[in-house]
């Protein structure tokens, strides 16, 4: 027989535990709100046309902007995508279509390992392999470092998406006499396209804000650079350098740059999420 006192104690424990989870939720959301709040509050005032179109002024002079960093980031990400997306999709296709063997598991495990390698370690490796060989910090090295970081995410999401394509779709295509490779490219990959694009966008958003692997690869630059073999400014690098500098004007620009960066990234993630949700609802209804 359960006494009334025990019951009351259990009720109380229940109430306490449930409110504790609610408090945890509030405490987790709080930093998110304050981070976004500060980004908007500090950043919005410093965003102007100059910030988006001009390169940095010499120390101590007001004005100037982060245009070279924004462009530099764009170029680095372009190189990274050119490396990371094909490699990732290729490996994903291998895993989904040919990878049901021990070799497949080795590749899968390696992708997970690569995903867990700290970004700073990837930076040092690319430094040794590319920068030392080229004798230059360069846009190319930065792109390679970020490209490597994109590969595992793209690989695993491509594999997952291809796995969700029903076997009967492959059979139907093969039954029409279409070669296996053509079936994979034109039928299987195409029907999984929206999911794969989602994976690519998430990988892109993840590396877009990466700073550590660029420290000793792209290195940063106070001026414009469009050459593959020269040091290049990148938005996250500029935010870092400005944030740890002692100048108020640079702090202001760091906040503005951070706001630009977060808008780009959160924009990407939100679009992806909208996309993915709709796809899921359609696919699994």
């Amino acid at each position: 027989m359960i006494s009334a006192a025990t019951s009351l104690r259990r009720q109380l424990a229940n109430a306490v535990a449930l409110s504790a989870t609610a408090i945890a939720a509030v405490l987790v959301v709080l930093p998110l709100v304050t981070i976004f709040g500060y980004l908007v509050y500090k950043g919005i005032g410093a965003i102007n046309w100059d910030l988006l179109t001009k390169i940095p002024q010499p120390v101590g002079e007001a004005g100037g902007g982060l245009a070279n960093g924004i462009w530099g980031s764009g170029l680095i990400l372009l190189v990274a995508s050119a490396i990371g997306i094909p490699l990732g999709i290729g490996s994903g296709v291998f895993l989904a279509e040919y990878g049901r063997t021990g070799y497949g598991n080795i590749v899968r495990f390696t992708a997970d390992v690569l995903n867990g390698v700290p970004s700073i370690v990837i930076g040092t490796t690319v430094y040794a392999l590319v920068v030392v060989t080229q004798k230059h910090f360069s846009l190319l090295a930065g792109g390679i470092a970020l490209g490597i970081m994109m590969v595992p995410t793209v690989t695993r999401s491509t594999e997952e998406m291809l796995r969700m394509v029903p076997q009967s779709v492959r059979e139907a295509a093969l039954g029409l006499g279409i070669p296996y490779w053509r079936t994979t490219v034109s039928v299987v990959l195409r029907s999984a396209a929206s999911g794969i694009i989602t994976g690519i966008m998430l990988a892109f958003a993840r590396v877009a804000g990466e700073t550590a692997p660029l420290l000793f690869t792209a290195f940063g630059n106070q001026f414009w650079n469009f050459k593959l073999n020269q040091p290049t400014a990148a938005l996250p690098l500029q935010i870092f350098n400005y944030a740890i500098s002692p100048f108020d004007e640079w702090h202001r620009q760091a906040w503005a740059g951070a706001l630009v960066l977060i808008v780009l990234i959160v924009g990407t993630v939100s679009v992806v999420r909208l996309f993915a949700n709709r796809g899921l609802r359609k696919g699994h209804a």
Binding site: A17, I106, G116, F240
Partner: protein
């Protein structure tokens, strides 16, 4: 000649059909094709295989490069490197202990703060909160994961550090100063700030994995406990958490892996001093932050080699931690259909 695969055309109910029964080996199909097209399939296979091999090659290169460039330091210092607390670039004497200490303490601190909050928010989203709020809340937690490290650092320098310096650290010193963990001048910047920033950064990882494994717990478990007259908390505790604990442990270790290797945010708030201080207010340094700070300024081969050896140590530690985490998460979510997890 290769065996032609058996293809059964007997219709069977979809549910009973084994997934792999109708697999057609591409090589055997191409035998039937005209010669010009016969090589297309093997070529395609070779192409995707090449992509997969390059993935292996990248990891192999990372390992080779780390081992190769750290040779000089390994030969000069041997195992002493990991137990020596001297970091003296001028005198050419290098020991990684302060960084190992900093990495372990900041990550441990992050776990202490993050785990209860992450598990709490995961339980709140899956078991407690109204359905309508569920999507919004998990989206907000995901957003935390999307914020770049450097922005956490920026926020850490200008918002978190002053907050710690002016309010939290004086209060901690007054109430818990006797523990010895909270003494000295409250700089704001230091080990505590690094721990808090890391905690915020790993919460989304721990929370999303916890959510996954909690949702993978079969509904019958909850219903059975509920039928015995349990309160909602008792359902969560005995029906859900107990079944999901291996997976949650996996999520925690995965978060630890992220915390150990996190660079920018930590570099910006930890103070970058190679010292072992018992107070959490004191500045410190981690394996990742010392590489970020000193790699481009390293003069001399031995200095660079010592930094690469720190990278190697970091790689090995995160590798072990991540493998452990994956195994734990797999052990729980394995066998659960994709959809239940997503």
């Amino acid at each position: 000649m290769e065996a032609v695969p058996k293809i059964k055309f007997k219709p069977r109910p979809a549910a009973a059909r084994p997934k792999e029964s109708l697999r057609i080996e591409p090589r055997s199909v191409s035998v039937l094709l005209p010669p010009a097209r016969r090589f297309a399939d093997p070529a395609f296979r070779a192409l995707v295989l090449l992509c997969a091999i390059s993935l292996l090659a990248v990891v192999a290169l990372i390992i080779l490069e780390l081992v190769w460039h750290s040779q000089m330091s390994i030969h000069s210092f041997g195992f002493r490197f990991f137990i020596d607390s001297a970091w003296d670039p001028v005198g050419g004497n290098f020991g990684a202990l302060p960084f190992i200490y900093g990495t372990l303490v900041s990550s441990f601190l992050a776990l202490v703060i993050a785990v209860p909050l992450a598990v709490g928010v995961a339980l709140f989203t899956t078991e407690v909160c109204p359905r309508g709020l569920r999507g919004t809340l998990s989206f907000m937690v995901e957003l935390l994961a999307a914020i770049p490290s450097v922005i956490y650092g920026l926020w850490g320098i200008f918002v978190l550090a002053p907050l710690l310096r002016n309010y939290v650290e004086p209060w901690l010193a007054r109430t818990l100063g006797w523990t010895g963990l909270f003494e000295g001048a409250p700089y704001g910047i230091g080990m505590l700030a690094a721990g808090v920033i890391l905690a915020i950064m790993i919460i989304p990882i721990v929370a999303s994995i916890t959510r996954e494994v909690v949702m993978a717990v079969p509904h019958q478990q909850r219903e059975a406990v509920l039928a015995l007259g349990a309160t909602r908390w008792e359902v969560m505790r005995t029906g859900v958490l107990r079944n999901a604990r291996a997976g949650i442990a996996g999520g925690i270790i995965l978060g630890l892996g992220r915390a150990l290797g996190e660079t920018m945010a930590v570099t910006m708030v930890i103070g970058n001093t190679p010292q072992i201080a018992h107070s959490l207010f004191a500045p410190g340094s981690t394996l990742a932050s010392v590489i970020a700070n000193e790699f481009t300024e390293a003069t001399g081969d031995l200095y660079l080699s010592a930094l690469v050896e720190i990278g190697l140590a970091l790689f090995i530690i995160t590798l072990i931690v991540n493998v452990l985490a994956r195994l734990l998460v797999w052990s729980v979510t394995r066998g659960v259909p994709e959809r239940a997890i997503a």
